[in-house]
């Protein structure tokens, strides 16, 4: 299967073309309930992550809460 490059939190990752966002999150050990996810600057509904397929040059941002004032 064809491999593609995407960016996750600014870092280049290689994944299989058309692999699912949900699988990427699972591989990265992301606690889905405690994060928010952007795909190409658009917030995605986390429940839909199983339906979203990754494409070349996709930019994903995964954020959570940390200490701050």
């Amino acid at each position: 299967m064809k491999k593609i490059k995407i960016k996750v939190n600014g870092k280049v990752k290689t994944v299989l073309n058309n692999s699912k966002l949900f699988d990427l999150l699972k591989n990265l050990n992301i606690p889905i309930k405690k994060v928010a996810i952007e795909l190409n600057q658009e917030i995605i509904d986390k429940k839909r992550s199983t339906n979203i397929k990754l494409k070349k040059d996709d930019k994903i941002e995964i954020v959570h809460f940390i200490g701050g004032g």
Partner: protein
């Protein structure tokens, strides 16, 4: 004495001290300091998950958002676009609508950019956010924020992290007097007595981070701020005496031998 609660966006709180969760040595220290402070609201920042270290501890593992109200902030945002992006993401994490907006304008003094701040407040309130707004100690701007639907006015005491205490008491008093909204002093407090002064001016609460987290003994500082806020509020409610230029004897002047 009747219950004197802090009400923000229709939510009631017993504690009038809000604390920041930044600058602590680690999350355990932060969580313990929050306990000592008695705070029911804590500010939190939105940042990228560290994807290379999968075992990094999470803030939510130390501070339970079911027990303590998380107040997501926009620290580090220097324009409206970034602030909106940050808070929309914060809401997505788990439905947070009560947020603290701060749009900074200058990297050195960290003063807020009030034009961007006002613009962002208008958008956020239309989107259903309940917005607590970090702002300058400018009564006119505070009024504009109120008119644009803000839920709390958060004027600075002094630059963020400076520890200078309240620099412009008169403006703070004017802001308190003219608004129906809660006024929370945010930024610049250095020691517990600064919090007492803020409360004696009539403010509804204070937000403290650096003065607790960077004190030599953060737990002592957290406790001191807790007590200082309570004392200041009680003092404000007690109705202080008028100032006079001359002395007034405290003992009866009749029956002197």
């Amino acid at each position: 004495m009747k219950k004197d609660k802090l009400i923000i966006a229709k939510k009631k709180f017993d504690s009038r001290l809000i604390v920041g969760t930044g600058k602590y040595k680690n999350m355990a220290e932060c969580a313990k300091a929050i306990k000592f402070s008695g705070a029911e609201i804590v500010t939190v920042a939105v940042r990228r998950v560290n994807i290379s270290n999968k075992n990094k501890p999470l803030l939510m593992d130390y501070i339970d958002p079911k027990k303590i109200t998380y107040l997501p902030n926009t620290a580090g945002c220097f324009n409206s676009k970034d602030a909106l992006r940050t808070l929309r993401l914060a809401r997505e994490i788990g439905g947070w609508k009560l947020v603290k907006l701060e749009v900074l304008g200058d990297k050195k003094n960290l003063f807020p950019d009030m034009i961007e701040t006002l613009k962002t407040t208008e958008v956020l309130t239309k989107e259903g956010f309940r917005v607590m707004v970090y702002c300058n100690d400018d009564p006119l701007m505070a009024k504009r924020l109120e008119n644009s639907g803000a839920d709390a006015i958060m004027p600075l005491a002094a630059p963020i992290g400076s520890g200078l205490g309240i620099l412009n008491k008169i403006n703070i008093k004017i802001i308190r007097k003219q608004t129906k909204l809660p006024v929370i002093i945010d930024a610049g407090l250095g020691q517990a007595s600064d919090a007492t002064i803020a409360m004696e001016l009539g403010c509804d609460g204070v937000l403290v981070n650096t003065a607790i987290a960077k004190a030599k003994k953060p737990f002592e500082a957290a406790l001191a701020f807790k007590n200082a806020v309570v004392a200041g509020r009680q003092s404000y409610n007690s109705g202080r005496i008028a100032k006079t230029l001359m002395g007034n004897p405290s003992s009866p002047t009749t029956g002197i031998i």
